[in-house]
Symmetry: D2
């Protein structure tokens, strides 16, 4: 659970109320990023932007939204990490360069960002922030091609990674999804206007209609000429991130053309089949696993109930008392419902185990509230390998499953039984096979070859001396 996605993006083209609809779209994508929010629009040939730290309803008010007129807009919500949490990394990132203005919104991770940044700095570029996004904008600024589409395509082709990105200049919006298709990106319509968003829930709130996914490797240009598709990348096998379905996406969204709500019920059902339990009730570590726990209940016949309550008022920092309180971190987030738990044999469902530290505290809390037996069921296989594609999780050594087997983990979190969903079970619940999703965090089979990456790097550096 202590994983986080990298941001949500939204775009609209051809609507008189572009900023307000983007505001609503971002609001519905808030679960993808709570650190900062921003909207850029085009009005009278120049790009207007409001970006600030905070949640969407905190960042925007009627005044600043009114100051963003225009018929097209892109928006961004950014998730919160420590360290890089600074306004100069907030997006849309807007820059002036020789050929005009560019606004940029990005969800993902560039694997060769550091190398690209070094090349650019070596030839004299000066960076303001620390984000991958700024690297991409500098690359676009260095390209000599005539058209915006070509400059963007050439720049983005130098970047290796997992991303969905939106570029806007004064005349067009370009949406790009990386050739592996790691991160989602959807196309929609509302009246005569075009929409692009990370998840379909952003279409629903503006009463828009879902058209289709933007395909892996597809570059979509939206302009006065309408909508056009381009495929500038070498083709790759599609590798959408399966955790978007398991954990990140909102259950009322379609993601990778799958119904998230349905998939989560299926995960619970499959888990009940693979790892049944003899128990009095089943409940979830709320909120993301609630639907999985329901699926488990439906398949197993064990009654569903609420064993833990989630606190929704948690702020960004929390003050701990001087004389420390047991399991403080978990207590701040969850409260046990004692009259439900007392004397019961319970199945607890969670989506994943990363470090195991919070889970251990939650288990202690449940035990102290009176549960007689605790059977832990995890809706995904053991996470053994770090992610390089835009998910904020620890590197290998920080992952408990990298160094411990399930039995050791069971003893560590102190439950009576512990079962993970199998890789096959996960894929089939998501209507897929070994070839349909990126499973690198479970299997270590990374879709992008790292040795090749480094070649790219040197090639780029050499080219840089001539071209850039």
């Amino acid at each position: 659970m202590p994983m986080r996605d990298e941001c949500g993006v939204f775009a609209i083209w051809g609507h008189p109320d572009a900023a307000r609809l983007t505001y609503l779209g971002l609001y519905s994508l808030q679960h993808r990023g709570q650190e900062s929010a921003g909207i850029s629009t085009v009005s009278e040939g120049s790009i207007l932007t409001h970006v600030a730290m905070g949640l969407v309803p905190e960042v925007f008010n009627s005044t600043n939204i009114s100051n963003l007129p225009g018929h097209c807009a892109i928006g961004h919500v950014r998730y919160s990490t420590t360290g890089s949490s600074h306004i100069c990394n907030a997006q849309p990132l807007v820059r002036n360069y020789a050929r005009g203005q560019i606004a940029f919104a990005f969800n993902g991770n560039i694997v060769n960002a550091f190398e690209l940044r070094q090349c650019l700095e070596e030839s004299g570029s000066i960076f303001q922030g620390t984000s991958d996004s700024e690297v991409i904008v500098h690359l676009v600024a260095r390209q000599k091609e005539e058209s915006f589409l070509e400059r963007v395509s050439e720049a983005i082709k130098k970047c290796s990674g997992a991303y969905s990105a939106l570029f806007m200049n004064q005349k067009e919006i370009i949406a790009v999804r990386d050739p592996f298709g790691f991160r989602p990106l959807c196309l929609g319509r509302v009246g005569g206007a075009w929409l692009v968003a990370s998840e379909t829930c952003a279409f629903d709130i503006v009463e828009g209609e879902y058209i289709r996914e933007i395909h892996p490797g597809e570059v979509v240009r939206i302009s006065d000429q309408g909508i056009e598709s381009f495929y500038p990348f070498k083709e790759e096998k599609h590798r959408p991130c399966i955790f978007e379905l398991v954990y990140f996406a909102r259950p009322d969204s379609l993601v990778f053309d799958r119904d998230v709500n349905e998939v989560r019920h299926r995960l619970g059902q499959r888990l009940a089949m693979e790892a049944p339990a003899d128990a009095d009730l089943v409940f979830a570590v709320p909120d993301s696993s609630n639907l999985v726990a329901l699926g488990f209940s439906q398949q197993s016949g064990i009654p569903f109930d609420f064993g833990l309550m989630r606190n929704h008022y948690i702020g960004r920092t929390f003050i701990e008392p001087e004389q420390s309180i047991r399991d403080f971190g978990a207590k701040i987030k969850y409260s046990p419902l004692r009259s439900t738990l007392k004397g019961k044999r319970v199945v607890v469902v969670d989506d994943s185990i990363v470090r195991g530290t919070t889970l251990r505290k939650i288990v202690k809390m449940i035990r102290k509230a009176g549960a007689a037996e605790i059977h832990m069921r995890i809706a995904s296989p053991p996470i053994r390998y770090g992610c390089f594609y835009g998910i904020d999780m620890p590197s290998n050594s920080g992952l408990i499953a990298n160094t411990h087997n399930p039995e050791e983990i069971r003893r560590h979190v102190r439950v009576d039984s512990l079962h993970y969903l199998s890789v096959e079970g996960l894929l089939e619940s998501c209507y897929g096979s070994m070839d349909s999703y990126c499973t690198a965090c479970f299997t270590g089979q990374y879709p992008i070859d790292f040795s090749q990456l480094h070649e790219t790097k040197f090639a780029l550096e050499n080219r840089a001396l001539v071209e850039v």
Copy 2:
């Protein structure tokens, strides 16, 4: 549901980390008020205070908490209404008067506040804010009695209403619960320190222990002499507000010595017995009714599921697009889970109907998401009469059940069937009888006689000329 409680209070006496534990206590009472938060402590003979608009984790940080040393503290969270939402109404309210300093935290409503205020102003008092609380502090300042306890008792006896209140001077904390006992107030311990809070969940988070309710009409003084009880009021029949159990309190709290979680399951079970339905699934208008819906499911055998998702990022104001979006208000708060609802006959459980406007929008949303039949079940009787005891709800004419019968309401919200819980069913689910709770909003039988009130008012005014 669009009812709100008036605030939560917390006190601690005799703990070296008083401010930090108060902070945690307030954090767990956040559901009782999100507008402002504040803490006062006593240090070196004077009262220190930090109060600001916002949520508890926004208002406090390690710096301002460190600036609140001392072994005793009182804290307050205030709920948000329009109009009176101003920092000068935030609490604890701290004032200097002839006999020193006083800090005051208040949950409830004074029915004769306006009359008292007029009396005080007539004899020269000057008010800063608009809250009932300031009236009480002015009354205390006018009393001539020697001891703080007597001054507080005499002042509060002039006030008619529903309240739980905390007074702190440099030497003692006084906790008062009105003689009808409308609002909850609990006594607890942590180590050698005394705790007072609106709900027991505030004891759990600081690892404290629940001792007992503070009784209706009880005045508790906590000081270096330990804890002492006084009963200065004329005895009245106890009339705790039953909506604390149905709706306001956190499910992991004990309130009026009842387990809220268990009561909510019982409400659902009783509702299923009184008003069964032929349906494929049952779900709640989240989050407060989830436990009721589970009780309904358990009793009826109809499977529980999630039909609506609640959005937890709602800010204090929301910008509407220019070309309006259908059912905008409901859409901002709730999202339907279409794959769950499609083609299903559903039972929807909610705790109450106030105006009926939001419910009508929610029903439209559920219908549009594909539900075949909608059977509405309400976990309380029709609310026909306004509340004068600290609950923010419309006056009679704004209550749909004041002017419409259930069949008319059913047609208005457009459901296939609509049933309310009976008054008896409600009381029995709460382990009570007609005599155990205030049921004024259902029955119109107000515990405080209004004609008597007005006599009190004139008496007070006359007395004022002499005494005050």
Copy 3:
């Protein structure tokens, strides 16, 4: 010089642009107070106010001035002391009380403020700030008289002290000058509108015309009935503060019907007659003494020049380097002009000596810059006694002339000669006699009898039990 006056006030009645003219008036009175500024207007029967810490041009902008419509206004600038420097002491002070709203602006000091405050608190009043002004407003709120004029008159008669004050309710402005006339207050006109201000420079900036002084003990009511005068006080001998002429007032003002610019030249001329010097040039400690130095030069024939430059960018606090710099305090304020001073015998003119510490530093600076001889001439007699009438200066023991004779002071500040103006010289330069001004700080003869004061206090306290 390290004395400060207590505030400046301005009022206008009957002008469509009342707030803007008040803004200009306050701007021209800025030298009387730099801590806070505020304006109240009456619009549609209620009082609107903007008050903030800072200089007039910092406090007001077109937006907040536009939010102060109305045809009458009062304004206030407050001087900066440490300790009481808090927004809740800023003025106009506006309060609601039983008979409506009151706005209050005050320049001066109430000698029995502490006693009055105690009486009021004893009978239950609660104060927000620490200023004398709040006491007066509470007194007005306690009065039972029908008319605003009577309530104000009765309240102010309980106050002993030195003050010029403005009261405004929704229908009239009342201007009061204490019966001794310590502080200035002038009456003016612009078009058909009435003006009141501490100094006439505030009339000049709005193109207004000076009519006359408001007399000591006069109460002027301005309303739809025009302008009316009342004399509710027992008559007292007039004792205007002579330092308004010597030091506080702007040289382009008339104060107490005297031309300040002319008086300052006369002071210098008289000083040159009383205490001539054999020197090469004469200069002032800038800026307030420049005109006096010019008068000295004109009378003596010794050429005037600039020996010190004053720095006008000094902020409210100043950071000192760790390894201390000689005469730091003086250096921050003044810079010597070495090419002027080098090898010269100089006469340095200052208006007064309070503690002597800064002067000693200035002398060192002048000496170090190369002056051969330094002859100090002071445009007032030795200040031996503290002021109780609104001037912020040290009590007796902090005054160097209270404990040292002129020769000792000369040795302390290390000048070659030091001469003070005589009391007669001062009075005659100001066109007055021993009976025309308050000379308490030179002579110790205080116009208000302190023993009488204390009787007043007890009388008030006893009355308070009955009346208030």
Copy 4:
């Protein structure tokens, strides 16, 4: 007078209290820029910076100064223009580039900045602000030379203009004065530490000692190797800006090795010789011309007095009343001393006439205050040509002397006589000849050939394609 200089700079090397001394230095250079202030220090191998809008004492407090440890520092004050008044133009400008960090403080103007910026943007550079300074930093970042000194020298050689600049990296400070020497830059010492500042008054406040001017075209490197001088530029004739002496510099400073105070007296004396007047008194438009007026008085025997008082509390914006006030702009700044002016024939001395609009208002004010005759004397020749070297003045057509002869100007400002100082008079008063100073604004003879400039531009562009 409505001319403004571009900024003041200060540097210190080798002092344990570097930030605090820089703070004092900047404070004494405040007259050179009131818009923003900033300090950068080097601590533990990285550059720390605090920069904000406002005056030096507003920008810095003990906390932020304490957060700037280190033994070397550079600081900057920036003057206020409309438009470019934005924090991202505030200095020191600090940037990361491939070879580390650079802090930069700049006083002056780069004539070919626009061309350089275009070249840089064409090859992909992205700019944050709009200042010339950023162009220079980008140039430094593009240089490939090994040493900081060489990179700085090569970069600055591409810039044509008038400037004094400070560069700091983690190991050295480099001070540069352009080859014409337009703007001043001085070298000093305090104890064992080195100082660099725009004017010597900044040495005085830190008790430092003036060593010498940094020569036109000199590049001074200060590092652990001590102090070294380099002369990388083609030699040019020296052309210091004579207005630094007439108007900009503080009178207690040495500038271009001249004593400003003495020069200003000499200007007045010469003016009295060239253009005597028959009058009763002489006074200045304060404050900058006071010393000139004194010189005039000394030479002519006409008594000096104060005819105008200057208001020192003017903010950055000023609200005008709706019904306009005559000569509002002048009235806000100056107040006439009527008792001095009444019935007198006066000589008014000012340093220069730019547009003539303010002077016309001042004259009206003096006349209205009662002056019988007004004889205007200007301490510089007619300004006929705009400045390209860092002085903010109007272009040719905005200069009244570009389009009008002195007699026409006299009639326009409505004085009885008007005389300018001759170019020879000006130069001789400043101890110089036609060859000693830039006199472009009087004569139109610009030291830098503009046609040559454009060649430079194209050369740079071509080089850019290869080198940059």
